[in-house]
């Protein structure tokens, strides 16, 4: 009883937690397919794909993607090489210096990105001036500054990833290569580098993602190379549109794809290894190991196929589907609603006017007699009582006095 209650609350907590984590992404993705021009999931109006075409026609976004790829490539190369050098150095630095050195190379992770951006900008601006270059030299270009600024901290991430693998490296391997006559460069390239390749690959992926989504540092250094993130931030800050949701949806789908593909290959490798382990010697030597199929026992692979098919279906629908009819319907419905509301408003106003008209003589009479003697004849209290609507019209025309008598007269005449 008690245990099942505990288990239930754990699952409830997990559900709430993952709803907080994934819910915003799901809702954002949904808004990409809804027709209102302000991104909203409720009320659902029409299924539309126009935000995707709006996205692909946005030259600033496309240019941002190009710049992001360029900067990402530069950052990957620079930070992976620096991270590798830093990791190698960490294994053989003078022990007394080790702690200090580690603090220095780990610090950029903790320094706020804003501070890194500013210091990069200020420092290279000064170097540029000291060397006597103009304001459009390489050292002050947004491309260079952004790559350098981002690499400062991304190299630290790479270093952490690489050090984890390097700790399992047996230095005797390099020594053996050297004994066998390899040069240091050869030993590095033929022995150490192949060993480090998986870690280098994951460091490169990490570096690219970190560079692609960096905002705090880039916002100070981008200059004339606004990245995708910068463009997005500017769009989001000054008016949001479902085209951004569309982009987010594409990124979400790509991410899910990559994650599932990665999961599927890992699981596949495990299954193949298990099959080999269970195979008999005869099967192995004959090369007739029955390997499991790609999809069997591999949930991630099944999901991957499902997601691919769903994507193809959605893209296929998008090319033939036209939401014009639905949008027209919704517009018609909105028009009707607005009309109904206007009608109601008019009726209410009419009622009010009627009410006012009944009270009008009482309110206008004293002010009419005291306010102006020249109008006294026209606004004769007795005449008013007989024809209530006429003087009201006059009051509307004559702003000087009509307004003073009764604020509702203006509204009435405007109707």
């Amino acid at each position: 009883m008690n245990l099942s209650f505990l288990r239930l609350s754990i699952w409830l907590y997990l559900a709430i937690f993952f709803a907080y984590l994934l819910g915003p992404l799901v809702i954002m993705s949904v808004t990409a397919f809804n027709s209102p021009s302000f991104p909203s999931a409720t009320p659902w109006e029409c299924l539309t794909f126009e935000w995707f075409s709006a996205l692909f026609q946005d030259t600033r976004i496309l240019n941002g993607i190009k710049n992001s790829l360029l900067i990402g490539a530069g950052t990957v190369v620079l930070s992976v090489t620096m991270g590798l050098a830093g990791a190698l150095m960490l294994t053989q630095i003078w022990p007394k210096l080790r702690a200090t050195y580690y603090t220095v190379i780990i610090a950029p992770i903790l320094i706020p990105g804003v501070v890194l951006g500013i210091s990069t900008l200020v420092f290279w601006d000064r170097i540029n001036r000291m060397l006597g270059f103009g304001p459009d030299s390489l050292l002050s270009s947004g491309l260079f500054l952004t790559i350098v600024g981002q690499s400062t901290f991304i190299a630290s991430y790479c270093m952490l990833v690489l050090v984890a693998r390097l700790q399992r490296y047996d230095i005797a391997l390099t020594e053996a290569a050297l004994d066998l006559g390899a040069t240091h460069a050869q030993a590095f390239r033929k022995v150490l580098l192949p060993f480090m390749r998986p870690a280098i690959a994951s460091a490169a992926v990490l570096a690219f993602l970190a560079s692609f989504e960096n905002y705090n540092t880039t916002t100070f250094t981008f200059g004339e190379y606004p990245t995708l993130t910068i463009e997005l931030a500017q769009k989001v800050r000054y008016g949001i549109s479902p085209a951004i949701s569309a982009l987010a949806f594409i990124i979400v789908v790509l991410t899910v794809f990559a994650a599932l593909a990665n999961e599927a290959t890992i699981r596949r490798r495990e299954l193949v290894a298990a099959a080999r382990r269970n195979a008999t010697v005869a099967e192995l030597s004959g090369g007739r190991v029955t390997l499991p199929g790609f999809l069997s026992g591999n949930t991630a692979a099944v999901l991957l196929v499902v997601v691919s098919i769903a994507t193809i279906v959605v893209v296929g629908t998008a090319t033939v589907y036209s939401p014009d009819q639905c949008i027209a319907d919704v517009r018609e419905q909105k028009r009707l609603e607005a009309e109904k509301r206007a009608e109601e408003l008019r009726r209410k106003r009419d009622e009010e006017r009627k009410l006012k008209a009944e009270q009008a003589p009482v309110t206008t009479a004293p002010s009419g007699s005291t306010g102006s003697s020249s109008f006294g004849g026209v606004f004769d209290p007795n005449a008013l009582q007989g024809v209530p609507s006429e003087p009201e019209e006059e009051g509307g025309a004559d702003s000087g006095f009509g307004g003073a008598f009764d604020p509702n007269t203006l509204q009435g005449s405007g109707n």
Partner: protein, 306 residues
């Protein structure tokens, strides 16, 4: 020293050794140390147009720091209350976000770390996926949800909780939720890494000895997970105090984050030295706060980043 250098070069080969040394020096000195020092130096200088830099007017001054405390010279107020308020509000809010994140992440990290099974991998994947998506887009997603006609307001007015839409953005709830959201992973993973290595027998032993579940956590799990907790808290605190995107997108129009002041000084009023001074203040305060808290809880610097 030259002997060390010679040893180093003979161990790595002259060519590779020099390349390695060059890269490390470029990174540590050229990208980390010198820019920070340069920013520090810059923050003590007056705001001059480029031709006058290095001229007779380019002297060290405390003007930029005084500005943060006392405001513009001849101002109506004795202290620069606006900027100081923003500064303290940022620190307090960042600390609150950190505590909030710790509270919601600890159970998850504990569960993931101590449960075996295939579904743990699925959970880990679901944790990581949001972090492959741009920070700006995550803030944007929350803005859709918290907006005046957003999902939350539609639901709450629909079930009759509020009569009128509640302005989450003006009241900064959206900002706190966004900051918490942005750094969940950085809190979970360090704690998870530590708890995963905790021997489950220790928990069993405590349970056999009659400890209630909260005491098991208080006396066994939390002391063991302290390095992970401090590492996660440090990262979340530093990152949320230094966040720029979330406050810009989710912050109310009347409330600023300290980084936004820095941003304004660089981009709107182009007073770089002033911005550099503010950045130095932010950096130094955050580092001191983190060190003080680490001293308080007796954690080492070397545990960070594990």
């Amino acid at each position: 020293m030259p002997r060390i250098l010679k040893d180093f070069l003979s161990r790595n080969g002259t060519g590779p050794g020099l390349v390695m040394l060059g890269l490390v020096l470029f990174w540590t000195v050229g990208l980390i140390i010198l820019p920070q020092l340069s920013m520090l130096d810059f923050s003590f200088r007056p705001n001059l147009p480029p031709p006058e830099m290095g001229g007779p007017k380019d002297v060290y001054t405390l003007e930029n720091y005084k500005y943060l405390i006392y405001g513009p010279e001849g101002g109506s107020q004795a202290y620069n209350t606006v900027d100081l308020m923003v500064f303290f509000r940022t620190l307090v809010a960042a600390a609150c976000v950190t505590v909030f994140n710790l509270i919601i992440c600890y159970p998850i990290a504990y569960y993931l770390g101590q449960t075996k099974g295939n579904h743990i991998r699925v959970f880990a994947l679901m944790l990581i996926i949001p972090y492959w998506i741009n920070e700006i887009l995550r803030a944007f997603a929350l803005r859709i949800i918290f907006g005046e006609t957003g999902v939350l307001n539609t639901i709450f007015t629909g079930i009759g909780l509020f009569d009128t839409p509640f302005d989450f953005i003006r009241n900064d709830y959206a900002l706190y939720a966004g900051l918490g959201y942005a750094y969940i992973l950085l809190m979970i993973f360090p704690i998870y890494n530590v708890i995963e290595s905790l021997d489950h027998n220790q928990i069993e032993a405590a349970r056999d000895l009659g400890a209630p579940w909260w005491r098991i956590h208080w006396r066994v799990v939390i002391p063991y997970a302290k390095p992970g907790i401090s590492s996660g808290c440090t990262m979340v605190f530093m990152l949320s105090a230094g966040a720029l995107a979330a406050p810009q997108i989710l912050g109310g129009p009347s409330s600023l984050w300290f980084t936004q002041l820095i941003y304004q000084q660089f981009n709107d009023s182009s007073d770089w030295p002033q911005g550099a001074a503010y950045a130095v203040v932010l950096l130094v305060t955050c580092v001191l706060l983190v060190l003080a808290v680490m001293r308080l809880f007796k954690v080492n610097m070397g545990d960070i980043g594990k």
